[in-house]
Symmetry: C2
Subunit: 259 residues, 2 copies
Amino acid sequence: MEHETQADGRAGLYEQLARIGKVVVHPKRIELLDLLCQAERSVEALAQAVGLKLSTASAHLQVMRQARLVETRREGTRVYYRAAGEEVCRFVTALSDLGWARLAEVDQILRAIGAGSESAERVTRAELLERARSGDVVVIDVRPIEEYTAGHIPGAISLPLEHLEARLGELDLGLEVVAYCRGPLCLLAPEAVATLRARGLRARCLEDGLPEWRQAGLPVTTGAERPAAAPSPPAGRSRRDTPATAPADGHEARPGRRR
Amino acid sequence: MEHETQADGRAGLYEQLARIGKVVVHPKRIELLDLLCQAERSVEALAQAVGLKLSTASAHLQVMRQARLVETRREGTRVYYRAAGEEVCRFVTALSDLGWARLAEVDQILRAIGAGSESAERVTRAELLERARSGDVVVIDVRPIEEYTAGHIPGAISLPLEHLEARLGELDLGLEVVAYCRGPLCLLAPEAVATLRARGLRARCLEDGLPEWRQAGLPVTTGAERPAAAPSPPAGRSRRDTPATAPADGHEARPGRRR
DNA sequence: TCTGTTATCCATAGATCGATGGAACATGAG
DNA sequence: CTCATGTTCCATCGATCTATGGATAACAGA
């Protein structure tokens, strides 16, 4: 069992799929994959993000790499991992959807942390597009800054949850705030909304997160943030829009999941 | 660890998702799930279909049930399993897609069995819809009869691969034949097409299979087959169309995958 | 009630996996 | 060349998983 490339040579299709399945048996690996769908990171950053020893994280990443779900890039002495493609993110999304729909416990956990009540009133992607065009909302990306840099909604400003309270002043109090994060299972945006509401602001979450936005074929801007004073620069000024690989029909490519 | 419902009580979101992941670590479980996305079956039928001892198959099904991916129905002395919902099939589809895209070996296996060369010329769903309307194609469902009964493309006739040669006479030689099966990783349709072409007929595969057809929001007919003489009864006469849960935009809901 | 059929449960033995600390390797800076 | 840093490889122990045969439970029919 050395040459893993051709080892198991007589392995059927399902054995191959099981190699992918092996990645998502372990909670930490799912967490890592989820992170990697947001942005590429070094091994050390990943290990720290999910609370794992370096060697353990590396081992997990090896498993993921053998299944071809992640790829690496070397920069000097450090190695950056990234998701190996669009399909990987779609797979993770499908897994999350399934979890949301089938596992009552997921729902309970989310509710227990307080994301239950207000999550009912979310902004759809279509609605956000429309209101962003007319300029009467502020869109904030509450994920860590690296993930914002790796890709964000055009016109959104980066306001990581941890800095939210300190930088509240930057927000235009007259406008409604729409917060988004990693996806339906991520609690960053719901927490941000709770914080903002406690301050008397009007705030809602976007349905789902950036991966779903991207998968819907909507434009994504990469690169650092701009001064962040103007709340709504006209959309479409992205530094690098996604190539039009996905059909840009957008608006609910996936059937809805919300309860 | 008895009350699995609330055991692991203090488990995070990713632990919950890993419960789903656990299902797809094992090749046979993926195979079972794939089968169950086509039609419900008894334990015995499943065990036989995938070549497993009864007790082993039952154990696997238990795992899948604990993860809430399958549900059961009792009829007399036998228990029927079925996929627990639309999202399950979507998940399996995403896994297959990912396998197709990432695992070079999958491609090699498919090619090795001879599905490589002709698979390039497939019929899109949109094209099939159009040509079925004008009535110049025969659509054949080459899956086992149970799966046809559980759901098939309106107007398609059931012609399981194993009976194809014997029932060749039923086909209208003047029309092109479009064969479909379980999905991109299923070899039934490609083999059928190869057989038909060897007989001099014009034949092509449909892209993907029935689950993808259903997921695209297109109508699905359930129930036994009709006399199967008339090659193209007008579509839309389905005995029970799928409820309009999914958006019926159809035509390429997912971004394409074909190489 | 007794019997045959179908499915689940159980105990066991063999295989695989995960976490961990320390060694080994590659790279860049003195 | 020699160090320091970041990452991967390795050996090990403990935990978990799988297959299997046989026991048990649910059900139908006489």
